[in-house]
Subunit: 314 residues, 2 copies
Amino acid sequence: MNILILGGDGFIGSHVVDKVVGLGHTVTVFDRFSYRVSKHLEHLRGKLNFVSGEFANRDVLKHVLENQDIVYHFICTTNPASSWNDPFIEVEQNLKDSIQFFELASECGVRKIIFPSSGGTIYGPQSGRIAEDTLPQPFSPYGITKLATEHFLNYFREHANIASDIYRIGNAYGPRQPVNNPQGVIALWMKHILEGSEIQVYGDRQTLRDYIYVEDIAQLMTHSLHDTDSSETYNLGTGIGVSILDLLNVFIDTIDQPFQYKVHPRRSFDNTSVILDSSRLMAFFSGFKFQSLKEKIIDTWCYVKENYTPPQKP
Amino acid sequence: MNILILGGDGFIGSHVVDKVVGLGHTVTVFDRFSYRVSKHLEHLRGKLNFVSGEFANRDVLKHVLENQDIVYHFICTTNPASSWNDPFIEVEQNLKDSIQFFELASECGVRKIIFPSSGGTIYGPQSGRIAEDTLPQPFSPYGITKLATEHFLNYFREHANIASDIYRIGNAYGPRQPVNNPQGVIALWMKHILEGSEIQVYGDRQTLRDYIYVEDIAQLMTHSLHDTDSSETYNLGTGIGVSILDLLNVFIDTIDQPFQYKVHPRRSFDNTSVILDSSRLMAFFSGFKFQSLKEKIIDTWCYVKENYTPPQKP
């Protein structure tokens, strides 16, 4: 099949590209490539099509959507923390541009869209393991917009008969996660360690997160390729809650460099507990073993150390 | 208290104005007043402040928000049918402008916002009576945007400590509902009868709606004035499901003018069944009796006949 991966040179997107190319599909990656060089996909040069462009540009996007069967949509300009003080940017950049993309995909005959939603922000305050039919109570602009985007995919299913799978992903971590302008606490802490600055730990033993390794995410998201006509919403997490203090202990045990840290109360834009019940998806992956957090934090740390370049001063 | 009613010269808004003025509050109505004349509130001239302006205009809106305690927000440029083929207009006009309003209200120290959401579109496909904790599955741009607006009110509660009550209203009908460019099936049918054109009936005995008279809505929405600090989401309907064919029979029995009609299958943007369980709200209104549909359709028809002016040709 012809598979387009929007934002395929990013963190999760590039791991999905690795998996999908490995399955033998014809892959196009659409992203902003500076100087025609990809950040994470040079090892696949010759095995896929690179298209550089702006997601908001209607004509460019329409051109790249032609003849595509399935599109993964990893383009997102924000994160929960950055959007906390700027609700407009979510609507202006992420929601509007996604709706435009869904419209163009419908016009171009795309059969299915795969959308990474946010298990960490759309459910809001909950306790215990969260299943997909839990009442979402998002309260950050990031989570609100992710959920509205899910709903617009429902609309395009009804209105334009385009299928869609939605993955509500837990706390992703792993190689290629941006360390400057970081999205996740693991990348953020590693950045501070590299820079010699103090780690700020927000939360306590009740602040639970479902950390999932990016390669596991990528592999599980290939599930959507088996059926181009079905539509479903899946949680995508390990189902294991790790407290922020336990995560700190993993860092203390594994990071081969001394660092300082300071523990603070939970912030208002963070949920207390996010543990995803992913049994709907895992029913298709009998015997699947999630990667060990401790081992993969070591691997991630090695990657980050090797690839870190301090932000350039203007 | 100082109470601002945005869109207070509209259908539901103007009935709320009647009730709130009757309770002795200091009321300001913000709407587009052509030639400084209100459509529905001339009987209250001298008893309230009229401010004419555009909701999207930040400076005008900020000026009118100063010193207000509570704001009802009835401004909405679309309806479920009009938005079915134009998802952008919902985001561009309703969602973005509402977020701007919430921001300005926070800055101006408004204590509470009251928002009319849509019981008919946010829940999506459901059966039986729907309570507020039912998983919403909106699939029309209108319903998706109403739900996202609810969620942004959650955000402003957390982010700016502004309270909000949300009313998920059933199928409103009654005097002052627009007959040209109509929003509800009752107003639409009356328009067709007046124009001598055939009524198009979409649905069957399973197409159930919760029709609620506008004066009941207005009275029940004054509940929010009792506590300026609390926030809650309320269904606002009668809890009685009336099929589209039963509604047709009410018209046949009560309308004193012959008319033609044709029955079609349900349209894709209509839900099968919408019956709201409003017991959360009605717990505050012991002994409340909803108006009779048959009697109030007669009253509405009398009002519509007296006030109808055909649309002017350009």
